[in-house]
Amino acid sequence: MNYTITLIGETLENRLAPSVFELSSMTSELMQQVTGNAVIILPGEDLQETANTAAQETGHDIIGIENKQLRYPNIEVLTGTILSALEKHKPQYICFNHSAIGIQLATALSIKLKAACISSVESIRFDGSKPVFRRSTFGGKLISEVIPKNEPVIITILPGAFPAADKNESKPGTVTIVPSGATSRYITVNSIKKEAESNSRLEEAETIVSAGRGIGSEENLKMIRDVATLFPHSAIGASRPVCDMGWLPYSHQVGQTGKKVSPRLYLACGISGTHQHMVGMKNSQIIIAINSDPKAAIHSFADFSVVEDLNSFLPMFIEKYREREG
């Protein structure tokens, strides 16, 4: 089979990363004009079961590349294994999720293949039959339309930009498992560290009250928690700086390197609104921003804005709530 589009899936402990469904949905768009077939390359350690499920659920053909060093991502082994598969199939488009591993692999392979590399793609439009890739730039203030000047074309898609494709109900794709003997000379994976899931319940929450650097101190998290308790089915979110400072564990982090959430209400407290944060919460139904800085970017992404100091506003808000509820 000749494949024009190759999607690179990710696995961790041989489990498929669900972001592959976003790649699959992007592919449907790309195939409006790009003819040919798509295949998913899935690297891992022991893949038969995962590859069968992926072939059923995505409907795409799967090439599983097994290497005993790939229970956890090893970038050197991944680059070697995927490069040999790409050299064999010579696809025109090679697509990754814009994850930590995805973007590193995409970039490294673009150098090996002398390919164009357009990362963090958010949407696609066509200029005739040629795809034009749209992505945010200048911290989200502008959108740029980028076209490749080389082939093949490597892209990474921003998490949440393409809705995850529904599970395929018709016939599954084919599955081919190939062994890879690629080894690493310079990079060794010593261990994997998983933060204990601290029950952040972010994904299921109807309301997320989220804290940014603007809360000022760790002690002020109490105020955020107090506000959250007013709402049914609520959870506490955070921007990356709050987790970097150790005020909340990373399991609470919303954003590009954290969780992607879509609650009914996202109450952003003291969050400046970097593009990296917005990526994680822009699909919320209602966004309300409370920030003392009237120029903070968050205000232009919100449905409602309150320009107030959190230390005076939130206690007042709680007090007013108690008055109403008696």
Binding site: S119, P148, E195, D303
Partner: protein, 258 residues
């Protein structure tokens, strides 16, 4: 030990970029304020922390761009770099990560650097590519989104922790020389001390032109730039603190969120 830290100068987030007449870049005029990419501040700070823990470290900062980027290199000297190199590119307009990465890799290839550090991404264009391009062109082992590092005494290996997925980190050993792209949270970038500001004034800032380094052809092209559409209303709730609290409460009840 030699460390190279790659610095990008970015538009300050309070500046409003205006699209130029061709619609493919912004007007790079005096009304815009620029500063050092925050992710690169973490990369530089990590290099300075390594320098403070050893006796033999030289940190060189490097940046590619027009004359204005010298201000960010000056800042890097103030923050603890020992020397700075400006690859001057006066042509203006956009520069792709491939162009910047190729220039820095070409400059660095015979420099004998034990470690190259970059920020995980640039705040402005957010490609997350430049560091990996440099590493790939120089065939250096590379770790991205690094949140912890520890260098062994004899400069054979570096052990790092990298973000792999939300809440998942990997501990990886790399042989040196290596390249790291640094994520926030690894350290707390310092403000320059007065003595460092004074010292930096006396340090030389080397400049070489991009054409002397190596001609590079970009592999991607910006067709068009346009302003982000505002998708939400952005209604500002006004009044005194008390009135705002009441209005917000009413709104939440109205929408059955409370």
């Amino acid at each position: 030990m030699k460390i190279l830290v790659c610095i990008k100068q970015v538009l300050d987030s309070e500046s409003s970029p205006q699209i130029d007449d061709e619609g493919t870049w912004i007007n790079d005029d005096a009304s815009l304020a620029y500063r050092m990419n925050r992710f690169d501040e973490y990369a530089l700070e990590e290099a300075v922390l390594i320098k403070e823990s050893r006796t033999d470290v030289h940190i060189e900062a490097i940046s590619v761009g027009p004359g204005r980027v010298r201000a960010s290199l000056q800042k890097a000297l103030e923050k603890g770099a020992d020397s700075a190199t400006h690859i001057s590119r006066e042509a203006g307009g956009s520069l792709t990560p491939y162009e910047v990465g190729s220039l820095i890799a070409e400059y660095a290839k015979d420099g004998g650097y034990d470690l190259i550090c970059t920020g995980v991404m640039a705040e402005d264009d957010m490609y997350c590519q430049t560091g990996v391009i440099i590493a790939s062109l120089l065939s250096l082992p590379c770790a991205t989104s690094v949140t912890k590092e520890s260098l062994d005494k004899d400069l054979k290996n570096i052990i790092v922790e990298c973000d792999v997925a939300s809440g998942v980190r990997e501990e990886v050993s790399l042989t040196l020389p290596a390249l790291l792209t640094i994520q926030t949270g690894i350290n707390n970038p310092r403000y320059p001390s007065l003595s460092n500001v004074l010292r930096a004034k006396k340090q030389k800032l080397n400049t070489i032109s991009d054409e002397t380094v190596s001609p590079v052809k970009s592999r991607e092209q910006i067709l068009k730039l346009f302003a982000t559409e505002q998708t939400r209303n952005g209604e500002v709730i006004s009044g005194t603190t008390e009135e705002k609290a009441e209005k917000l409460l009413s709104l939440l009840y109205e929408k059955a969120l409370l």
